[in-house]
C-alpha cells in the first residue's frame, strides 16, 4: 500500500534555515528507506502559502495556509509499505517525529 507521511511541526525552528546536523539525519533516513520512498519534499514556510477556493463559480484567493495552527505542514514523504505497521515504523524514523507529529494517511486507489 502507499501512504503519505505528513510532517507537522512548529516551523519557527526553521525560520533561520536548517541545521546541518539535522539535514544529515534526513539524508541518513533517505538512505535507510530509499527503496520505500517514492517521493518526498520539504515545503517553504507557511508565509509563502496561498489558499485558493472556488465558491459559486468564483475563485477566491487568500494569503496564508489552510489553517493557522501551532504546528504546520512542513513536508511530506510518499512511501510504499506492506501495511500500516511498516508505515508507522518509517514515520517514526523521520527526524521531525521527535519535535512534531507525523500523520500517516493511506493513499486512495480508484479502480
Amino acid at each position: 500500500m502507499k501512504y503519505l507521511l505528513l510532517i507537522y511541526e512548529n516551523e519557527k525552528r526553521f525560520e533561520k534555515g536548517y541545521e546541518a546536523s539535522e539535514l544529515g539525519e534526513y539524508h541518513a533516513f533517505k538512505k535507510e528507506f530509499g527503496s520505500k520512498l517514492i517521493a518526498g519534499h520539504a515545503l517553504k514556510l507557511t508565509n509563502t502559502a496561498t489558499s485558493v477556493r472556488v465558491r459559486d463559480g468564483k475563485r477566491l484567493t487568500t494569503d496564508g495556509p489552510f489553517a493557522e495552527t501551532k504546528e504546520q505542514l512542513g513536508g511530506f514523504y510518499l512511501c510504499e509499505a506492506d501495511d500500516l505497521d511498516e508505515a508507522i515504523t518509517i514515520a517514526g524514523k523521520i527526524p521531525a517525529a521527535r519535535f512534531g507529529t507525523i500523520e500517516v494517511r493511506p493513499i486512495m486507489i480508484f479502480s
Binding site: A81, D83, L84, D85, I88, T89, P106
Partner: protein, 410 residues
C-alpha cells in the same frame, strides 16, 4: 446452554481468527462462520461430533467460497451470459482440517491496534475473539446497539482501508503493543467485574463472560510471551480478583464488602493459580503495577478471616504502587488501607488531601464517611454518606450508601 452454544463460545474466536487470516476479510469470515454454526444446529441433532472444530472450519470455508463464487458468478454471467461457472474445489480432508491453525494471537494485535480508538479496540476484541454479539457488547457497555454496531463497522473499515495488518508485532514493537493489549484486556475484565452485581440475571451472565474472556485472553498472551512478568502478573491479578466474584453479591443482589464476604465462597482454584503466577512474576525482577495490585489481592486471599488481614503489608504495597503510578485513586486506596493498619485518625488527613481531585468520586466520600464514623463524628459521616449516595450511579451501591447514611441518622 446447549452443546452447540458451548461449542460456539469455545471455538468462535479461534475459528474466526483462522478464517480472517485465510481470507483477509472480517465480514466475509464472520458471516461464513455464523452460517456454519447455523448449519451445525441442523446437522447435529444428537450433539456435536468428535471433530466438531474441523467440521465447522471446513463448512465455514465452503460458505466463504460459496459467497465468493456467487459474487464471481454474477460478474461471470454479465460477461458470458449463462455459462456454467466451474466448481471451486475445497479440500475437505478431515485429518488435515483437524489442525485448524490458531491465529488468535495475530488477531488480538489487530483488534487492539493503537490506530483504532480504545472503545473500538475493546468492542472488536469482544466481538471477534470472544464471540459476543453486538447486542451483548452494547448491553455490557450501556450504549445503544446501533452505536455499538457503528463502532464495529468503523473499526473494521479502518483495518481494511488503513492497512492494519494481521501480525504479531516484531520484537522491536512487541513491548509497547503488548502494553496496549494488556490495557484492553484489563479494561474488559474490570467492566465485567465492577458491574457484575448491577446486572439482572441475564446481564450478569454477559458480565461474567467479560471476565472469563479477559482471563482467556491473558492466557493466550502468556502463551506468546511466557517469560513476561507483566502478563503473568495481570493474569494473577484477574484470577485473584475473579475468585471473589460469587461472594461479593448476596442473595438479594446487594453488594457485600470485603470484610463481610463469606470467604468459603471464594474460588480456591483461582486463588492458588493466581498465587503461583504472582510468585513466578515477582521472581523475574522488579514488580510493575499489575504485580503490586495482584500482591494486594493475594494478601487479602491469604487471610482466612477478615480480621486476619495483614493491613500494614497492604498499606506498604499501596505505597510502592503509588510510587510507580501516582494517581488519586491509588492514593485513596492507600488511605483506606492506612485506616485499617494505623487507625482512622491517621487516614483522615490523607483523605482530606484528596478532596480536590476526587470531589466528584463517590468512593472518596464513602471512604471519608467510614473513617469519620469510626472516629465517632456521626453527623459528618452521615453527610459524607449522603454525598456518596448522590454521586453513585449503580443501584446496589446506592442502596448500600443510603442505608449507611440512614443508620447514622442523616
Amino acid at each position: 446452554m446447549s452443546e452447540v452454544d458451548r461449542l460456539f463460545r469455545e471455538e468462535w474466536g479461534r475459528l474466526l481468527a483462522a478464517l480472517i487470516r485465510a481470507y483477509g476479510d472480517f465480514d466475509l469470515a464472520e458471516e461464513a462462520l455464523q452460517e456454519a454454526f447455523a448449519a451445525a444446529v441442523e446437522a447435529w441433532p444428537a450433539g456435536p461430533p468428535a471433530n466438531a472444530r474441523a467440521w465447522l472450519y471446513g463448512t465455514a470455508r465452503h460458505k466463504v467460497i460459496d459467497r465468493v463464487r456467487r459474487g464471481a458468478a454474477l460478474a461471470q454471467k454479465l460477461a458470458e451470459l449463462g455459462r456454467e461457472h466451474e466448481a471451486v474445489d475445497v479440500e475437505l480432508d478431515p485429518d488435515a482440517e483437524d489442525a485448524v491453525p490458531d491465529e488468535r494471537l495475530r488477531l488480538v494485535f489487530t483488534c487492539c491496534h493503537p490506530a483504532l480508538p480504545l472503545d473500538a479496540q475493546v468492542a472488536l476484541t469482544l466481538r471477534t475473539l470472544g464471540g459476543l454479539t453486538t447486542e451483548q457488547i452494547a448491553h455490557a457497555f450501556l450504549v445503544p446497539s446501533t452505536t455499538m454496531a457503528q463502532r464495529l463497522v468503523r473499526a473494521k473499515a479502518k483495518i481494511r482501508e488503513a492497512g492494519i495488518p494481521y501480525v504479531v508485532p516484531g520484537a522491536d514493537d512487541l513491548p509497547e503493543r503488548l502494553d496496549g493489549v494488556m490495557s484492553v484486556v484489563y479494561l474488559i475484565f474490570n467492566e465485567g467485574y465492577n458491574q457484575s452485581y448491577v446486572a439482572a440475571a441475564g446481564e450478569a451472565l454477559v458480565r461474567h463472560a467479560l471476565c472469563a474472556e479477559a482471563i482467556g485472553l491473558a492466557r493466550l498472551l502468556l502463551a506468546l510471551v511466557p517469560e513476561s512478568a507483566a502478563v503473568e502478573a495481570l493474569l494473577a491479578l484477574m484470577l485473584l480478583t475473579d475468585a471473589r466474584r460469587d461472594a461479593r453479591v448476596d442473595a438479594a443482589g446487594d453488594l457485600v464488602l470485603l470484610p463481610q464476604q463469606d470467604r468459603a465462597r471464594w474460588d480456591r482454584a483461582e486463588i492458588e493459580e493466581g498465587q503461583r503466577l504472582l510468585t513466578a512474576a515477582l521472581a523475574r525482577g522488579p514488580a510493575g503495577t499489575y504485580a503490586f495490585e495482584a500482591a494486594i489481592a493475594a494478601v487479602h486471599a491469604e487471610a482466612a478471616r477478615a480480621d486476619d488481614t495483614d493491613w500494614p503489608q497492604i498499606a506498604r504495597l499501596y505505597d510502592r504502587l503509588f510510587a510507580l503510578h501516582p494517581s488519586p485513586v491509588v492514593a485513596l486506596n492507600r488511605a483506606a488501607a492506612v485506616s485499617m493498619a494505623e487507625g482512622p485518625a491517621a487516614a483522615l488527613p490523607l483523605l482530606d488531601a484528596l478532596a480536590e481531585p476526587l470531589a466528584d468520586y463517590h468512593l472518596w466520600h464513602a471512604a471519608r464517611a467510614d473513617v469519620l464514623a469510626r472516629l465517632g463524628r456521626q453527623a459528618e459521616a452521615a453527610e459524607a454518606y449522603a454525598s456518596a449516595h448522590r454521586l453513585a450511579t449503580n443501584e446496589p451501591e446506592r442502596r448500600f450508601l443510603a442505608r449507611r447514611a440512614r443508620e447514622l441518622g442523616a
